[in-house]
Amino acid sequence: MIATRDAYGETLAELGAENDKIVALDADLSGSTKTGVFAKKFPARFFQMGIAEANMVGTAAGLASVGKIPFLSTFAIFAAGRAWEQIRQAVAYPKANVKIVATHGGITVGEDGGSHQSVEDIAIMRAIPNMTVIVPADGEETKGAIRAAAAYKGPVYVRLGRNKVPTVFPAGHRFEIGKGCQLVEGSDLTFITTGLMTAQAVIAAERLKAEGISARVVHIGTIKPLDKELVLQAAEETGAIITAEEHSVVGGLGGAVAEFLSEECPTLMKRVGIYDRFGTSGKSEELLKYFGLNAETLVEQAREIVSRKK
């Protein structure tokens, strides 16, 4: 168990030692986002920008313009939310080589409540042309994703979480932008999941097996560009899709999959996520249960979709 933000801090510091073009920026949250690890090792290449996200994004764009590879971090709601138009104008529109690594995505922010829980960031980042959107499932995938983001030339948004999450991928897992990953074979339905919901889907698939339901699990680490081949294959071969994400059902992974399949291969579908509402205060485990973001919900939804198939 490791939090994706911890894997980020560690990897960014490693990358800093390998490539002196890498710089980091933070808006007074370096202890939480873990850019502080980089800051400690490379103080000259770390830019503390204070509580001013809009300026942080523009500054990163300027740094990229003179050849740096800036990683900027803050909570997802302040990166994607507060600075959305700066990201659009200064980063995505010019295809600036800026990496936005947003931590504390989703409702597992917990006690801080709805003001701090970003349930819309995947949707609004995905809507911007030129933007790549990555949501890793665990620490191992995060390490690969951060390395892939550094190697890729152009804007990338990576969404990470606050809490420790179960390990899904083996050590040394190779991450490729735009490539999904089938974790469990199955023929009755497919869970297409991202972020911390992938581990839940693996648990759900195991439970369903005991009931004689064969559930496939496909993890989508890159929401944009979507691995259309893998999604299409799942739709054609299993005929039922359940998406799951720690995000609104509007415009996130569920939206992306629905948009694609409705045109290419209309398929029975369900979206597990947050149904057009804000988050609220509570312990993160309580909130996951409260919003139905767990294996239990996936099992129920799977039973239902399989019954509808018949």
Binding site: A54, N55, S65, Y93
Partner: protein
């Protein structure tokens, strides 16, 4: 020097003619703010900045950010005059497929390094460039032109704070204070107050000049370069639409282009009698 300034004045006059002709052709774009900023942009490109039109990406170049991106015509006529692209291209401004977009686009225009147009963001980008260049121990300087109405954007002051905090003395912001914005006089729409006092309070070195006096512009740019330990703001009093009395000091000409009827008189004002 006097001769050099006379030459720059003549160049600025020709650039004004090019702005008027370009905007008359496009029938879309921002006349007033292009004419108010052109003396500063002309002095930067033909007197102060190190740059190489043969090699727009030359590492040794100083950087320029047109934060008030709607004055793109002023930048485009300057880049064309410098040789970044043929002057004929100006006649394609704002047309489908043109490399001269409505607002500066680094993806398509040689000599443009960042995308601006959404106001209030250029100072952040310019300071990012300044920080990056300093980190590499480079001497290159960064210049940016902002409008006075643009100072109403809060991000400008976030950037002002950061540039002073990081002592970005390789950064110089020129404020094209023409006193007008789309809805009217800046002080009526949303009074920015004393620009000088504000930048000073943020820790900047501030110089006040007449933004149409080439000698004053040049002297201020030299003083900015000489000043160490803080970024410099050159607060330039300008006249919106400067050079063409039809457009001068008229908010209505913020986003309005010269008509067929106005063109002969506009060109006459700028010394074109043909």
């Amino acid at each position: 020097m006097k001769e050099k300034f006379a030459e720059l004045e003549e160049k600025a006059r020709r650039l004004r003619v090019a702005i008027v002709r370009t905007l008359h052709k496009s029938q879309s774009g921002h006349t007033g703010g292009s004419l108010s900023a052109i003396d500063m942009i002309c002095t930067l490109y033909f007197h102060k900045m190190r740059h190489n039109p043969e090699e727009p990406g030359w590492d040794g170049r100083d950087r320029f950010v047109l934060s008030k991106g709607h004055a793109a015509p002023a930048l485009y006529v300057t880049l064309a005059e410098a040789g970044y692209f043929p002057a004929e291209d100006l006649m394609t401004l704002r047309r489908l497929g043109s490399h001269l977009q409505g607002h500066p686009d680094s993806k398509v225009t040689p000599g443009v390094d960042v995308c601006t147009g959404s106001l209030g963001q250029g100072l952040s980008m310019a300071n990012g460039m300044a920080l990056g260049l300093k980190l590499d121990g480079k001497e290159n300087r960064v210049y940016t032109v902002l409008g006075d109405g643009e100072l109403q954007e809060g991000q400008v002051w976030e950037a002002a704070m950061a540039a002073a905090h990081y002592k970005s003395d390789n950064l110089c912001a020129l404020i094209d204070a023409n006193g007008l914005q789309i809805d009217g006089f800046v002080e009526k729409v949303m009074n920015v107050g004393s620009i000088t006092d504000k930048f000073r309070a943020f820790g900047w070195h501030v110089i006040e000049i007449d933004g149409h006096n080439i000698a004053e512009i040049a002297a201020a740019l030299d003083a900015a370069e000489a000043h160490k330990g803080a970024p410099t703001a050159i607060v330039a009093k300008t006249v919106k639409g400067k050079g063409v009395h039809l457009f001068e000091n008229k908010a209505a000409y913020h986003g309005v282009t010269p008509s067929d009827a106005e063109l002969p008189e506009a060109l006459r004002c700028l010394g074109c009698l043909d």
